[in-house]
Symmetry: C3
Subunit: 138 residues, 3 copies
């Protein structure tokens, strides 16, 4: 069985960390699929999906980490093409990856207690995003 849905999230951009764990839990429960995987995918090249313990400390550490390895105040060749100043957003997205696949069993995501699924919006402006959620299972 395949079940595909859309999740709309409003973000502030600039490495905004959006916790979508509860949304995924509801989608899994309402899907009619007991066990399988849910794939969350961002149709766009300036977002990323991963998991993290979504607490106030790491909410600062993660953006600081990205500033260290892919600074936002540097010029990138991407600007020669579009002049939109978000080369850093594209590189961060390519690094983290646009999707994540998580198993669920008996209607429950197999996450750890302190582990949240987060959408990272790396773009340099606020965005309204539509994420694809696709469940495959039985």
């Amino acid at each position: 069985m395949v079940n595909t849905q859309e999740l709309t999230v409003e973000t502030t951009g600039f490495c905004d960390i959006v916790d979508i764990t509860d949304d995924l839990r509801e989608v899994v429960k309402g899907s009619g699929i007991s066990s399988g995987t849910i794939t969350v995918f961002c149709p766009g090249s300036t977002g990323g999906l991963t998991t993290i313990e979504n607490e106030p400390g790491l909410q600062k550490d993660l953006p600081e980490f990205f500033e260290t390895i892919i600074p936002s105040n540097r010029r990138y060749h991407h600007d020669d093409t579009w002049h939109d100043g978000n080369g850093f957003s594209h590189l961060r997205s390519a690094l983290i990856g646009p999707g994540i696949t998580i198993p669920f069993v008996a209607g429950r995501l197999t996450l750890g207690t302190w582990q949240q699924v987060v959408f990272l919006d790396f773009d340099n402006k606020a965005r309204r995003r539509k994420l694809v959620l696709q469940l495959i299972g039985e």
Copy 2:
């Protein structure tokens, strides 16, 4: 339904960025599967899969980024084992990951307009690669 295929790509190595989006589109269309996921996997430890806007600026930015965090002109312990000078290739592959899973719906990949699926060949020579494409759906 499961449908597995192979995609052969010729690369120049050294962070060659190979856009395989059109290949995936064709495979999805011809698969007889309407909705599901396609998993692209590189059997090899010096390649990676991700998405990016595949335009001339980022085609320079991405290799420059990898040179910054995992330089190719440094010596790695990997050389003590094989003396093939591609320790940086292995580290970059482990970082980006050897595969990607993308949902498709009604025969169409759920990619953004400016988002391409790319195979990154991190090896230090030209390669002929066989990527695994596996579709699961209904």
Copy 3:
């Protein structure tokens, strides 16, 4: 068909590299599923999954790489919350990602000859981990 299992691994933490390739091979063989994907997922926010050639050189290079980009001897805001000194572990996990999805065909994983599936334990202590292995296929 969906088949979910658990794999227990004992780790030493501190970027311990645990080769789980043979475990996955056995699980695939015994699953009764011929072709499909296996998703390995770490329920926890200080572990990661990827592939690498698991040889003595890279076993040193990989931890050294993580020390370079996310040092363990720095203070992170995460410490203000929990005082457990493992902010670096969380960041490394978010970077590498908590899961991996690998196709198998006719009972065989589609890995390269020198490519191993590894669980990376980034935590700052020895851990007993239960990884989720989920096979979907036919």
